[in-house]
């Protein structure tokens, strides 16, 4: 997404100057997306050039306020109303590592899964603790989403391991050798 769409939405309730937009953006996103003033003013200038916002001139403090034009209001509405099209076939690095290991060295795939499970579970543990501590609404919404993405990844890793085991045939000596190839870590 772009800061442009965010500003159009934030201007919906009424005119704002750049400083107000940045403050509202920070507040709305739970300060998870740092903006600098350079970005704020460049974005506003581009929006004005495109006819999406109009300048209302300087106020008594010398700050320029902007309001949405009809065109800008339409663009904001269209953005809010459209679903985001996420790529269905994910090219994420975790999936690629597992797929490449399956191709080149299937015994290795289980070790790749084990290493990734440890890292993702660690993230989920941290986020679970932070969710229990609580926080403001934007922050909690972020944490919920992060936790659920981690959960989905962990469930996929479990399922991938299950499929690899089934593929290897649980009782064959070959499968047994694969099980043993998983590095074992000291846990005490």
């Amino acid at each position: 997404m772009s800061v442009r769409s965010a500003f159009l939405v934030l201007l919906g309730p009424g005119p704002r100057h750049g400083y107000q937009l940045k403050a509202e953006f920070d507040d709305a996103t739970g300060e998870s997306w740092p903006l600098n003033y350079g970005q704020v003013y460049t974005t506003l200038q581009r929006l004005e050039k495109a006819g999406a916002v109009a300048s209302l001139g300087e106020d008594e403090d010398g700050r320029i306020r902007y309001e949405l034009t009809d065109h800008g209001r339409e663009e904001a509405e269209e953005w809010m109303a459209s679903p985001v099209q996420q790529p269905l076939a994910s090219r994420d690095e975790i999936a690629m590592k597992v797929l490449l290991a399956v191709r080149t060295d299937p015994g290795r795939a289980v070790a790749v899964i084990d290493v990734q499970r440890q890292a993702t579970m660690s993230t989920l543990q941290t986020v679970t603790r932070m969710r229990a501590e609580g926080g403001d609404l934007p922050w909690m919404l972020h944490l919920d989403r992060t936790a659920m993405l981690a959960e989905a990844e962990l469930r996929w890793l479990d399922r991938a391991e299950e499929r690899l085991d089934a593929e290897a045939g649980a009782d064959s000596p070959k499968a047994d050798a694969r099980l043993r190839s998983t590095p074992i870590e000291e846990t005490t």
Partner: protein, 233 residues
Amino acid sequence: MTVLELHSVTVSFGENVALDDVSLRVEAGELIAVTGRSGSGKSTLLNLAGGMLMPTVGGVVVAGESLGGATAERIADIRRRHVGFVFQNLKLLPRISVAENVALPLELHGTSTKDARSSAIAVLERLGLDDRADDPPSALSGGERQRVAVARALVVGPSLLLGDEPTAALDPTTAEQVMKIIRSACNAGAAGLIVTHDPVQAAWADRVVHLRAGRMGRTSAGTDAIERTDLLK
């Protein structure tokens, strides 16, 4: 203080190796989750920790007392004094009240009915269930019944809390309530060991151990708090 120690335990049922050279220590104040799919050895591990099963090889120590070579009576005594259990298929007695169910382990210890009841009420209060104390278990929702099961495990002030899929069959909100209770019992000094196939519940633990075909994979622990600006990267 170490409350539970498994020293290189192996459990075999005939040719089938359920656990293969597993070592684990659980300290007071610590919650450990064991994950793995069914048949991975999770339940075997929990049965070892609770003294319901003896290892083929290796040793189990609960609260400083070795279970190896102990008589059945001795093990039952260690279990009564130190261990609280939360099972997936909770076993509340249907004909007595919620408070009587929770008081039961204390009465079996020889605590008077009156004292057992007041301890039971205190635990139920902590779990927000004191207003249900005199109801029969059948009057409670599934989530409430599971919290009563946790109360019954906590009433003896166990140094070791064992959970077998303690939140299975609960909706996410109720599951979270139950995990918070288990978590706070551990924060208050109990050592906790739960087995679960669910990563969301496992994530409440300080350490998560993954079992696969009776062997231990990697152990994960949480990290420092994540910064707000890290979330959208």
